[in-house]
């Protein structure tokens, strides 16, 4: 184990920022499964698509208005909106047809979406990695340097977590969504239009994922294949936390992010093996996850 506080801090920052990304992508995944019982394998591919769109929009803005770091903000906002619409359309056109189907068929459909969107990305952006360079000076923390953008990321993660919590617990629609996790029949008995809720939840999940892809662009280059690694880690997060529980997803993200970062001290390269060992243990001990409720199976 390292003794200097600087390298521990760096791992902590790195772990936390990874945790934030996992949370942002997994929260939508968890919500979608909790409400509609659909495992969306294409979630991270749509996340990737959001990242590429943000990249292109940022380049476009930079070429039009000149280089300015803050142009990333409108780019992210617009892409989040576009992906919300895309999510809505996908739910209405495709996902909706799968609710009554068996789990493997649902997986097959979302897997087809991975192939389609993955290839579209390759068609449009090619196979090069993309990232956004922002002129940010690292700041010194003890003996090490930390990119201050980490604070933006952590703020974004906590901001979305707080926003989601507020939406789910303090707004009428949020309460309906939460109720839908527990009992669909009750919600439809209340005379609420379930199809709209479903489309909304799916679109919201995709939009949050796209948002996170944009936020991470300045520190993480995106490329093809990244979605496949991410989705499987997000499944781990969602299952550890418990389907449909935002708090669970948040806690699990932090556990996974921190374990990932600090495993470098015990078993470099073995981070994901450790994480899946944790997942296996959780599934054996509490299949419904740390914060989930034992109900459906």
């Amino acid at each position: 184990m390292p003794t200097d506080i600087g390298s521990i801090l760096i791992q902590l920052f790195s772990g936390l920022s990874r945790a934030m990304m996992l949370f942002l992508v997994s929260s939508g995944l968890s919500l979608i499964f909790g409400v509609m019982n659909i495992l969306n394998f294409a979630h991270a591919t749509l996340w990737l698509l959001g990242g590429y769109l943000t990249y292109t929009l940022f380049q476009l803005f930079s070429n039009t208005f000149g280089d300015h770091a803050l142009l990333i903000v409108p780019a992210i906002v617009i892409v989040t909106g576009i992906m919300f619409v895309l999510g809505w359309v996908l739910e209405r056109v495709l996902i909706r047809r799968m609710y009554a189907r068996e789990v493997p068929e649902q997986l097959l459909l979302t897997f087809a979406l991975i192939l389609i969107f993955g290839d579209l990305i390759k068609l449009i952006w090619g196979v090069q990695n993309r990232r956004i360079f922002l002129p940010i000076e690292p700041i010194a923390v003890f003996d090490s340097y930390v990119n201050p953008y980490f604070f933006v990321i952590i703020a974004a993660g906590f901001g979305v977590a707080g926003g989601l919590w507020w939406f789910l617990h303090r707004t009428r629609y949020g309460k309906i969504v939460r109720a839908a996790v527990y009992s669909r029949d009750m919600v439809s008995a209340l005379g609420i239009r379930i199809p709209t809720i479903y489309a909304g939840v799916f679109a919201l999940g995709i939009a949050i994922a796209a948002f996170s892809a944009g936020v991470f662009l300045p520190i993480m280059p995106i490329g093809l294949g990244l979605d496949m690694d991410l989705i499987i880690q997000c499944f781990a997060v969602v299952v550890i936390g418990g389907f449909g529980s935002i708090l669970g997803t948040f806690v699990a993200s932090i556990i996974v992010g921190i374990v990932y970062a600090f495993s470098i001290f015990i078993w470099p390269g073995g981070a994901l093996a450790i994480i899946f060992l944790i997942l296996v243990a959780v599934l054996i001990w509490r299949p419904w996850g740390l914060f989930g409720t034992e109900m459906r199976y």
Binding site: V103, P104, L107, L108, L109, L115, L277
Partner: protein, 354 residues
């Protein structure tokens, strides 16, 4: 099974054949003849594709023992395919001397080593998985699959990590693609016959009972978990046999063989062909693997093409291609029969899985 052994009026036609042998027999005959004739096609490419079809088809059929027959979804089935492939590859490397050559006996021993290794792997993973059902069974198998994947991926000293193991050159006779093809065909054919016997055995029907109604099966005296575990090990072992054949053909193995995308392959093949038919996964493999290979040849953008095809199949052919064939044949036969004589009182009861 599906059709009674009635007197067929039109022997020779597929429908006549179907009446006599049932869907499974018809498929077996068509595929069998097809596979035997593949090397007559021009070029080496069809043979290469056919080897992959056979190996992945066996992999998918082993998966369907868990899915179609037992009613659970294993989403980590590639772990056993990969364990089989790695067992063979590691034995290969151990037998290969400084010259890189391997004898025939060593070659067969390498292949055989896949059986105990994948069976042991399936026993350990299955021990935990059979405590769960439904989505949790699927998730735990996925988690174990990824765990095995990352262990192999990170353990450079033993498995070569993400580089995999290269230079698996089989003995001279098996270096020839056509020879290796017939060898694979023989092994897969034997495996398929054994699988068929299993599905038609009392144990095969115990599996169907578990699929339909676990609780009732327990009340009838079946030890549900043990039954699931035995099947899990059988399925894992056959996946391991398929995996063993992969490395010497491709001359290398890599961790991708154990990952979740590899686990997806038998799921998709089975759904495409039809999970409720014994031959469904193999038919799915023919379609999926051939599409994969040939579309890749003609366009850079094969995932897009395959994605669209899968999307179409999921949306419009939910029971798999064989269910459409089965329904068509049944309708055709019924029409013919009602034309001929309208005396048949007992309609053929259609069965869940053949």
């Amino acid at each position: 099974m599906t059709s009674s052994a009635g007197k067929s009026k039109k022997k020779g036609s597929i429908n006549g054949l179907y009446r006599q042998a049932g869907l499974t027999g018809t498929i077996a005959l068509i595929l069998g003849i097809g596979f035997l004739l593949v090397p007559l096609l021009p070029g080496e490419f069809p043979v290469i594709v056919a080897v992959e079809i056979l190996i992945l088809g066996l992999f998918a059929m082993s998966f369907n023992l868990i899915y179609g027959y037992m009613g659970q979804i294993s989403f980590g089935h590639a772990a056993f395919f990969g364990l089989g492939a790695y067992a063979t590859a590691l034995m290969f490397r151990a037998f290969q001397g400084a010259t890189g050559e391997i004898g025939y006996l060593d070659f067969f021993l390498s292949l055989l080593s896949a059986v105990p290794v994948s069976a042991m792997g399936a026993l350990v993973v299955g021990f935990f998985c059979v405590r769960l059902t439904g989505i949790y069974f699927a998730l735990l198998s996925l988690a174990f699959g990824e765990l095995v994947f990352y262990v192999v991926f990170s353990w450079y000293g033993f498995t070569g990590g993400d580089d995999g193991i290269q230079g698996l050159m089989p003995p001279p006779f098996f270096r020839d693609t056509v020879n290796y093809y017939y060898f694979t065909l023989a092994i897969v054919a034997i495996a398929v016959v054994v699988l068929w016997r299993i599905t038609q055995s009392p144990f095969g029907y115990s599996l169907r009972m578990l699929r339909e109604n676990q609780q009732r099966a327990a009340f009838l005296g079946i030890n549900v978990r043990l039954c699931m575990l035995v099947n899990f090990v059988i399925a894992g072992t056959f996946a391991g046999v398929a995996g063993a054949l992969w490395g010497p053909f491709q001359r290398s193995v890599s961790p991708v063989l154990l990952g979740w995308t590899q686990s997806g392959i038998p799921v998709f093949m089975t759904l495409i062909g039809g999970a409720s038919f014994f031959g469904g996964p193999m038919v799915g493999s023919v379609i999926y693997t051939a599409l994969n290979s040939y579309v890749t040849r003609f366009t850079m953008y094969w995932p897009l093409t395959i994605g669209v095809i899968i999307l179409f199949l999921v949306l419009f052919v939910p029971g798999g291609i064989l269910s459409v064939v089965d329904a068509r044949m049944a309708a055709y036969r019924r029409r013919r029969e009602s034309d001929a004589d309208i005396s048949a009182g007992s309609a053929d009861g259609r069965e869940g899985v053949q």
